[in-house]
Symmetry: D2
């Protein structure tokens, strides 16, 4: 299948136009239709002098032979029914984050895709930026050493959503990035969440999320809709080096700091057990390196990966399982908030997957 | 008493030299002696061609008639015995932060000063910077509106202390600033603390501290000894405006952002009670203002306030009570850490103060 | 004429795709054709599933009745013949900067448009950014006082052009902005240019341009193709306030500094003439204000202005005359470089315009 | 001579207190006296409880046996008479920048020191910062390749000096740094200066200085007293790498950019001479490296070098010759300003030095 894959975008609202632009601009894809209940909105997204079809019925889209795959950019609670219908119709599926509004729905989507042998991809857009790809590679290479802490700050003046709080709105970005860069994915020991609703909006508008990691480190996420300053920063503190990602600084998005603390604990013979550890602390004050990164739009990489996973009959790098892991943490956030910030252990999603369905192989 | 007040600095280690320099450079003060168990260290701090006396005995310092006040810059656990001896000898006392190592000691110091009618001042240095003074004034003026959230970040590559964790080392700065700028002082409803010791140093090296405030807002403090990048930033989010303090940006330390979210809840007649609230959200995108601030060294202001409170027979703006309130939160941090991050209500220090002793009047 | 204006874009190379995207996205315009000698390049720019016509002949484009206006994005030396042909065919014309490669050609274009009563617009894109529009307004309002100096820095790692030096490549941006924001346009008293060709590329790759202004101030432009750091900064120093525009800082593109030097010269009676001036210097250290600016793509504003000037039968804000003034300075740069940096007075373009042709009225 | 060298500071005005503090804090030195015509000013600089002598007569200072060296921080036009008297009295001499107010005076000082075999040092303070020392080393190492351009910007709201223009006030810093980092010192082919006096202060308050270098590169200096923003930045563009020094960014003062333009000119056989050069341009987009620099006060290093050169009987790294080279460029600036910006070749100072006097050996 070296020819372009036929695609339809479902949902022409907030995110849909970005998907339309990128499917349209990609030689991997042939965007044949855009579907929205609001026909005028869909027409505006497609623009004049175009032969892309406008559809207002999901059934009509799924019945088309020239549609191999659908991209779903509708409200979160509609993801599962649309995706399940599309999978049942034999279409590959890309879903906006979050994958679904409940763990149950998300697991049903994963199982349905496994059984049908179709690609189910979560649009964790940030994972397709050159910066996050670089972070994943540098963590995997061991250059940073052990991960000691990860601090992620995502604050700006944000739209107060009618249906979700600031954790559900913003934290999926941070959690999907953590899932992508941590070897083995995001599987925190516990989740402690503190939220605040100082305006009386009826939901948390400021949120703090702390997650001890199995490795001994800690991850912390700060999300905030009320901040007039915009910050998109993540610090990955390692035992050897520390990486700082400042996404709003295009000239220096990533810097690697070769400075830190070295702690050596030596066993000393002949002393009583309590005193057997002598700790030696030393400090390194080395250089900072700012790697050259390519500039390429994340969504362009994302739609390329979607096409490539379909052609290669393999799981995409942000597959449905990744979407389920993110949801699992978001669920624990809700429980911790309800328990006044007490630590909650997230549900292990793997227990829920259909053991008989094999799923697509992971990319080599 | 318009002549200079006689002072002695006790402790010539890490912080002592800064005190020596500022007492020496102030026309309010006559620095007559520097005291340290290590005579050579004290001599080095004073330098050559000086007639300032070197003392190695606390008793000798306290016996001097030309010493009206002492500044204590020794390890935290020695603050209380030295301060109590100085107060007993009729000397005014300035103490480095933290005021003491236990609440009991700190309260004893406050009570002793009250009974003796002497000044007991905590060196909360940051409260004497032009920036923090400006923040206190702008909060008090109501220009920011209600305080919705305060985020304080104090991270850098720090010396891992042998005796204290990162909370006790760094958070007193943030807590003393919060105590100074919040009307009525820092009196959080609860304290939730999460720490991490990813290096196995035997104590928290990375810490997060969340404090719901009685006003409905939330304060959060992030302290970290392992960060190769240095950040000193506090955001005070208000319902009308938001203030950002970036202490490492001398050209723009403080900026006030006239942008934010307005939430209006209106009662609507004739509907059932549940539906009577209609919420309207609006966004302001106004200007940013960067106020011109004087540049003056905080310690210089601090020693001036110490002299002024002695001369005016009044409590200094960072008195012993402020030191006790900060300790009260630090104590709750320890309890919350031990309880896995559960929220702990700090002890109300006022219950412990000697009701009979009147204390010095607060500055008008 | 409330319906969309028919447009054709001529040239699908470096800048053409940006024009295509913006004409296409505008409800003011109906982009009916894209013309390029390289048909495949034109097709790639238009993309699949489009009914926009591809043309490879200028004559064919100019013969179309559905083309009211053309946008020319071809190499500079072809601007004049294409524009003159288009004007002769009764089409309105938009031309990329620089307007032409010689003053003679540019003046011929202006005169042809005047005589035909058609719009001739120079695409001085930066003049359509919200930031530059704001600067123009704030200068006109008198808020900055008299203009004392303007410093413009435009440096980055740039493509070494085969046919032009760094002045012709980059300085048109700075010069067109100066022309736009200075009341009466850019009409320097003299131009002194120093260039350097340290790599032996056969043309200046680093350039400095100094222009005393009639008002008594000075403008300076620094352009550089060899700088690994990218800077886009302009400082407009006024006698009352100073404006700083940092185009790479989206959170604070413009800041207005209410600080500066006040110099008062007073006449003093009874002294000899030489001594009659007593100068008093004072300094203001006021606040900085960062105005909120809308975020809108400059090219979108530019194509809207093109449509609006055609409909209103008026000169656009960056008309052909502006293009000629910029060329006049570029010519003087060349002469100054040849004269070792000696100051050269630019040609007054108004002398060359056809006095009989009236031209379109300027926008009210 | 391992004991401390006896010093006197002459002049307790603007810069004198900094010298006093650093001589006092150095174990290399014994500061025995401070001399000023204004006795109270000198007393205030020394402070209370000190046995440093206050002198109000130059003769008295020069007559003291315990004074081995003097540091002169008086107005520029008094440098020569004081220094010549001190050298005649057998004292080593340190002089604030500029070395003197005329070339003739400066050359007389250099010759007097040579003949007396005494150290004459110019206080080019910036040359003793860790950053400038690093730049000198990295240029010398060849890591940057050939120097293509150097851009230095030194602008801030400055005191308008009664006696000197902005070039004489600020440019000595830039010129002394260029002299220090360029192999062989600063010896430009020509100097072109443009100044502006937009306030009518009677002297240039904004200045631009262009200097083609013998190596083929170009140096440019921008000085400005009227800028409300403070910038201290120097870019050293090399054929292999480019160094950026931002002195107001303590966390990243120096960055080295491994990106740039490579131009290869190849001789091609068999073609006519004109066409024999085929130029190939390529671009490197490599990493940025931020070296770790020690933090040490420049003046502390400077007084150490003064002591060390006296003890080692060698020329200091910023000797009188360096001061003369800086003056030579400042003189050419004045001539170029008078000639409307025309390029002026600076006087070669070496022609003026006394050929018979040998001078101190240069440090190995």
């Amino acid at each position: 299948m070296s020819q372009a894959v036929g695609a339809a975008v479902i949902g022409a609202g907030y995110w849909g136009p970005n998907l339309v632009r990128n499917f349209r601009g990609s030689s991997d894809w042939d965007l044949v239709a855009v579907c929205d209940l609001d026909e005028d909105r869909a027409k505006r997204v497609v623009g004049a002098r175009s032969t892309i079809d406008i559809e207002t019925s999901l059934e009509a889209v799924l019945a088309r032979d020239d549609v191999d795959a659908v991209a779903i950019a509708t409200p979160a609670h509609t993801h599962a029914p649309i995706a399940l219908a599309a999978l049942a119709a034999g279409k590959h599926v890309l879903v906006e984050k979050p994958l679904a509004d409940t763990m149950e729905s998300a697991i049903a989507m994963v199982n349905a895709a496994r059984e049908a042998g179709l690609v189910l991809m979560t649009d964790h857009t940030y994972c397709y930026t050159p910066a996050v790809k670089y972070i994943r590679d540098v963590v995997a290479s061991g250059e940073l050493g052990d991960i000691l802490y990860i601090d992620s700050v995502r604050i700006n003046l944000g739209l107060i959503q009618p249906d979700v709080d600031v954790f559900w709105d913003l934290a999926p970005h941070d959690l999907s990035i953590l899932d992508f860069i941590l070897p083995g994915g995001l599987r925190p020991e516990a989740v402690s969440a503190n939220g605040s609703d100082p305006l009386g909006a009826g939901k948390a508008c400021v949120g703090y999320l702390t997650m001890p990691l199995a490795s001994g480190g800690i991850a912390h996420v700060n999300v905030n809709w009320l901040s007039p300053t915009k910050i998109r920063q993540m610090v990955v503190g390692g035992s050897r080096r520390t990486l700082v990602w400042d996404d709003l600084n295009p000239q220096q998005r990533i810097s690697i700091h070769d400075r830190g603390v070295d702690l050596t604990t030596q066993a000393i013979d002949g002393l009583d057990p309590e005193a057997r550890k002598a700790t030696s602390v030393s400090y390194r004050l080395g250089d900072i390196t700012v790697p050259a990164l390519p500039e390429r739009e994340a969504l362009s990489n994302m739609v390329a990966e979607f096409a490539d996973s379909i052609r290669g009959k393999r799981a995409p790098v942000t597959d449905g399982d990744a979407g389920v892991r993110v949801l699992s943490v978001l669920n624990a956030v809700g429980e911790s908030l309800a328990a006044g910030g007490a630590p909650i252990r997230p549900q292990d999603e793997a227990d829920e997957f259909d053991k008989l369905a094999v799923g697509l192989p992971v990319a080599g």
